[in-house]
Amino acid sequence: MKNKALIYAAGALVLLVLGVMFLRFELPVVSVSAETLWTVGGFKITNAYFTSVVVTLLIIIVAFVGTRDLKIKNPSGLQNVLEMIVEGLYNLTEGVSGPKWVARFFIVPTTIFIYVLMSNWFGLLPGLAGIGLCQEHHVEAAHAEEAHAEEASHGETAVSSTTCPQGQVIVPFFRSPSADLNNTLMLALVTQVMAQVFGFSALGGGYLKKFFVFGGVAAAFKPDEHGNKRSVGGMMMQLAMGVIDIFVGLLEFLSEFVKIVAFTFRLFGNIFAGEVMLIVLTFLVPVMLTLPFLGLEVFVGAVQAFVFFILSIAFYTVAVTSHDHDEAH
């Protein structure tokens, strides 16, 4: 038992060293934005968008095939999985938002969860980074000079491991849509707009009272709750509280926008950083070392999808609960 483990460890170590010795390759170009694959009539099809379409189609096909003949008794494999996902997320939604809103809240965040999870994991599929089109080394205009300088210093030592001609790099067909800010911004916008819609539909105009709170200031010039006239000190106190309320409301208003940014960059940052980390690790130690980090990225991808889901549900729930009601109990 012990010997076997030792042999495995030694083998892994040998692989690691051999990898470092013989499998070094050029550090690929790390681009924050998704690379353009084709341009169709002025519309740039980026690899992230291409992947997004693929992922969408895959999900739809799986959902379609899995629910083609649903059985009440003895469901088969795929149906079981789909049931588990939908039922689990539904129950989770119900747990956070309560039974009244669950049917309306559940749809978009669940779709986001499935879509984001599949996007994150699709980007991790090994080997896909090497399949793509050869393109001119495209650098942002502002950085063109530096990039050239860098290339000049690098160019002679690094051995190009790609099959692309000199001066061209591989642009992979697939890039996780979560590593494209357009996609994450879209998801964040959808989530936040939905939150506002739910807020207005639940509270009507009262929803705005969450952000623009003038009640506290107004109360300073009215008699207090016992009907007595306020003293000057009491009035000042109430005025101060009212001003604080206004600021808190404005902060909450601001935070609605901050949420969009947070949503956008949380998902993007986690997934993009994970991919960059994997690339850099592979560049440093080509074999073996990336495996645990690949596992970590699988976990991070799942957690980020879940966080996106649960945060949107939580924000929806906050949006439909009125402040007055909250303080009442």
């Binding site: 934005s33 002025g42 968008y49 629910t67 779709t111 879209m186």
Partner: protein, 162 residues
Amino acid sequence: MEALGFDFKLIFAYFINFAILVVALRAFAYKPILNLLEERKKKIADGLDSAEKVKEQAERERAKFQTELEKARLSSQEDASKIAQATAEMREQILTEARKEAEAIKERARAEIEAERQSAQSDLRRQVADLTVALTRKVVGQSIDKKAQHDLVGKFLAEMGE
């Protein structure tokens, strides 16, 4: 913004993508599966209900059966004891009758035997007397007189009579 790759056309394209996904999943996954879960829940509840009902029914049947069985056992016990009593009575009666009959038969048999004995005795006496007379006549011839003969017979008979 440009350097981070923001592009409104792309955002819109992503949005359309996502909207299609939402609609498709709603149609293909959420609705049918939630309906199915609801249906299954209802079915299970129904099943439990009917099982409960059946169980109740069975319980009732069982109780009824139990009481009936008890009743039957009681009545059969009564019957058995009655029958046993009747049997015993009958047995007693038959026995007494039989005994009486046996007694009567014995009595009759004794009487018959007595009568038989009587008749046999008298018969024997007469025959013996005749025989004796004949024998004597043969042995003695006509020599013996009437008086001696009768004495002899009388003596003999007296001896035999004892």
